[in-house]
């Protein structure tokens, strides 16, 4: 027992020694991890842009046995490292921009060096961790503006098409350096409506602003502003053998008329206004209809079973795209192009009957069949802002009315309107620039929501609407020319009264008349089976 105090003393001494040793502290940084940067920024000008990976280096203390690189956030596709001694080069590859689309994305890469946690290294414990924050911005995309031609000195609404507008807080638009007003973005972030101020003639790059977008949103979309042009009243001769005009469109950018007619070989005919006069027509054969693309860079011509891109100046042909599963005895009939640059193409049968329509998608260069609803020889007409088209349908043999359809560009969908139902006649529908007024069968005037406002005389054979929707210009041979109606007022389904006497045309267009109007509202083009009449708009 005399040794007990000694033994306890030894134990106490050891404990004191241990505690003294422990109390001296450690921490020589041997388990530290150091990195060359704490932030990486990726910028993609659009979802189609390719963003290069970026690298940083990490160095590790001598006690580090294991290196783990982990990441989070959908901004990062991968983070890989190449080890060289106690240094690693870590490469961060962002997710492909076209995979995640426009927006702001964040992520993090964490580099942790692990040391053995116990003497036999059965466990690992973390040394220091260093994190790199990832800031990845993919800018929204401006695709086009419709209409892309505006009139100098006139403030008007345009629709800017693109995507990703809702992924940022897009709240302002400017035309060149001039701010637009009344900016509205649709829920999908694909359309922005804005009003441009009165601008002088010129080309204005459209720029979107978003407070949460770093830097300027890239844009190559221009609004072309032109001075109004006063075409003198005149007539233009058709190609020989023309009896019917199938389509008529005015190309405001190049001041040219585009027609498809039943002249031999079914020509697409272009009349250009050059040096103050209408030039002789140019033609390319084989077309049943044609429409300018949304930005005017192409004409989409249709044959009986194909769509063919055509150069709007030279009329050089592109590669034809065949309509799949075209029903027997049917053919492509009419074409309109929406602000998404997709084209709606209706089909025809020799008799009454329904057939599918097609959507032409330039991005995939494919014609997509629209099986529901099928249309009975549908005739579409689209507004200048290209948000919607009205489609009338029916055949003279029908004994009951059929629905009028609405094609909406935002959804590429065709839906039946509750009213009206009718059978189309020979008068092609007319709509104004914003689709606030619709005239069907040359008689019935509707609001954009298809509320019947009033009627025009049964003797009307063709109608065009003033771009702002306040006037209807009706060609009425019985009355002796163009009659003007104020359709800004709601007549409660009663007949509209002409504002003045008929304005005689410069010539007789002949039967089967189609009409269109220039964007400045100053000139009417009246094309019939006999000729084309260029007619200044009556000043009423």
């Amino acid at each position: 027992m005399q040794y007990l105090p000694g033994a306890r003393g030894v134990a106490g001494l050891v404990l004191i020694g241990l505690l003294a040793g422990c109390g001296s502290g450690g921490g020589d940084g041997a388990a530290e991890t150091q990195i060359s940067t704490n932030a990486i920024v990726f910028r993609a000008s659009s979802p189609s842009a390719t963003v290069a990976p970026q690298s940083f280096t990490a160095s590790f203390g001598e006690d580090i046995a294991h290196v783990a690189v982990v990441h989070s956030g959908n901004a990062i596709a991968s983070a890989t490292s190449v080890l060289n001694g106690r240094t690693a080069e870590i490469t961060v590859t962002p997710t492909a921009a076209n995979t995640i689309g426009p927006g702001k994305f964040t992520g993090a890469v964490a580099v942790t060096g692990y040391t053995c946690a116990d003497a036999t290294c059965t466990r690992m414990s973390a040394g220091s961790t260093e994190s790199v924050s990832i800031d990845y911005q993919i800018s929204p995309v401006l695709e086009r503006v419709t209409p892309y031609v505006a009139t100098a000195g006139v403030s008007d609404q345009v629709l800017i098409r693109g995507f990703g507008f809702r992924n940022f807080n897009v709240n302002a638009v400017s035309f060149g350096d001039v701010a637009g007003t009344e900016v509205r973005v649709n829920d999908n972030g694909t359309e922005l409506l804005a009003t441009h101020p009165a601008l002088a003639a010129g080309t204005y790059t459209i720029r979107l602003s978003a407070p949460d977008h770093d830097g300027e949103i890239p844009s190559a979309v221009n609004l072309l502003v032109q001075d109004p042009i006063a075409f003198a009243a005149t007539t233009l001769d058709h190609l020989a053998g023309t009896t019917t005009v199938r389509s008529l469109e005015y190309d405001p950018e190049r001041r040219a008329l585009l027609l498809t007619t039943d002249a031999p070989s079914n020509p697409l005919v272009r009349y250009a206004f050059q040096d103050g006069a209408w030039a002789a027509p140019a033609q390319v054969n084989g077309f049943l209809g044609a429409a300018l693309s949304a930005n005017g860079s192409q004409i989409f011509g249709i044959t009986a079973n194909t769509l063919v891109p055509v150069d709007p100046v030279t009329l050089a042909l592109g590669t034809a795209v065949t309509a799949p599963s075209l029903e027997a005895n049917s053919a492509l009939k009419n074409i309109v192009v929406g602000n998404d640059n997709r084209a709606l193409i209706t089909t025809s049968l020799p008799t009454s009957g329904t057939t599918p329509a097609y959507i032409y998608d330039p991005a995939s260069n494919a014609l997509l069949i629209v099986t529901s609803p099928e249309l009975n020889n549908g005739t579409p007409v689209i507004s200048a802002i290209r948000t919607a088209a009205v489609i009338v349908q029916g055949d003279p043999s029908l004994t009951t009315d059929v629905p009028v359809y609405l094609y909406e560009t935002a959804t590429n969908s065709i839906t039946a309107t509750i009213t009206p139902t009718l059978r189309q006649n020979a008068v092609v529908p007319a709509v104004d620039r914003r689709f606030s007024r619709v005239v069907i069968n040359g008689v019935r005037v509707y609001s954009g929501a298809f509320a019947l406002l009033g009627t025009l005389p049964d003797t009307t054979v063709a109608v065009a609407l003033k771009p702002d929707g306040t006037r209807a210009y009706a060609y009425d041979p019985t009355a002796g020319g163009i009659l003007v109606y104020d359709i800004s007022v709601d007549r409660d389904e009663a007949a509209y009264t002409a504002l003045g006497p008929a304005t005689p045309l410069a010539g007789d267009p002949g039967p089967g008349v189609r009409m269109t109007i220039t964007p400045d509202g100053g000139t009417l083009f009246v094309a019939g089976g006999a000729r084309i009449v260029v007619q200044p708009t009556p000043a009423l």
Partner: protein, 274 residues
């Protein structure tokens, strides 16, 4: 730090040598009746620990351990042990909050297998000296990129030797352990740990430990209890340890071990069975 420990160790060894030798003489007669391992025994245990590195990743570990100990004559014994543990790093601790992006965080895990053989000599009233050799393998699975520095792969083999000595002094046990671990294609890790245990009652042990690894101080405390009402078969231990360095690591551990074979109190088990 190493020289400090050597000094402390040498001092302790000198005093131990004198005091323990005299104590041994007093107990020599009774020792002849006791063996290094009274009987072959087996223990199976579950362990869990949580390790938190300051301003870095925390880890959780769950492990299974089995130890078989057998006598070799009256003075020697041997043990074979096997261990599996799985460590999961909480990567969310170090990644920015990007939950709004709807992405999942990568997992980071380490799986360990190791086995060791130990041979030792023990006088139950004096102490024990032992030598061990073991091998292990660590495998990592951490996100995109996870490698061991020495191998450049996700696998690391280990070889280790351990030499330990402990002295039994009534209700105290003092000991020292030196471990040398060679990492595959990598450096050798030398570790020294000194410990002092106290049995306030024969079923409870309180152990303080201190040591160094990577030339960094480690110290800890562990309390083990083998309750009598569990038939002296089940032991539970709770411990806390700290690695004192710039990124301080704190580890809290909990383990449960079941002893097959003879039912004896903890102090007896430590000195005559383990």
């Amino acid at each position: 730090m190493t020289s400090q420990y050597i000094y402390i160790g040498a001092l302790a060894a000198l005093q131990l040598a004198g005091n323990v030798a005299v104590a041994a003489e007093q107990n020599l007669g009774r020792d002849t009746e006791r063996r290094a391992v009274e009987s072959t025994n087996l223990s199976l245990g579950l362990s869990a620990s949580d390790s938190d590195t300051k301003e870095s990743t925390s880890n959780g570990t769950f492990g299974l351990t089995g130890v078989a100990t057998l006598p070799i004559g009256s003075l020697f014994g041997a043990s074979l042990s096997g261990n599996y543990s799985r460590t999961t790093a909480r990567t969310s601790d170090v990644l920015l909050d990007v939950t709004s992006q709807g992405t999942s965080r990568p997992s980071c895990r380490f799986n360990n297998y190791d086995a060791a053989a130990t041979i030792f000599a023990r006088r139950p009233t004096l102490g024990r000296i032992s030598a061990s050799y073991g091998q292990g393998e660590l495998k990592s699975d951490c996100g995109d990129d996870s490698v061991f520095v020495s191998t450049g792969t996700d696998t690391l083999g280990t070889d280790f030797y351990r030499f330990a000595a402990e002295a039994y002094l009534w209700d105290f046990t003092v000991g020292a352990v030196h471990t040398s671990t060679e990492l595959e294609d990598g450096p050798k890790i030398e570790s020294n740990v000194f410990s002092a245990s106290w049995y306030p009652i024969d079923s409870v042990r309180v152990m303080l430990s201190g040591g160094e690894m990577y030339e960094q101080d480690t110290y800890g405390i562990e309390i083990e209890h083998q309750p009598e009402f569990m038939g002296n078969s089940l032991g539970v231990a709770l411990g806390y340890s700290v690695v004192d360095r710039e990124q301080e690591i704190g580890t809290i551990s909990f383990s449960v071990v079941y002893h097959f074979g003879t039912k004896v109190e903890l102090k007896t088990r430590d000195r005559q069975y383990r």
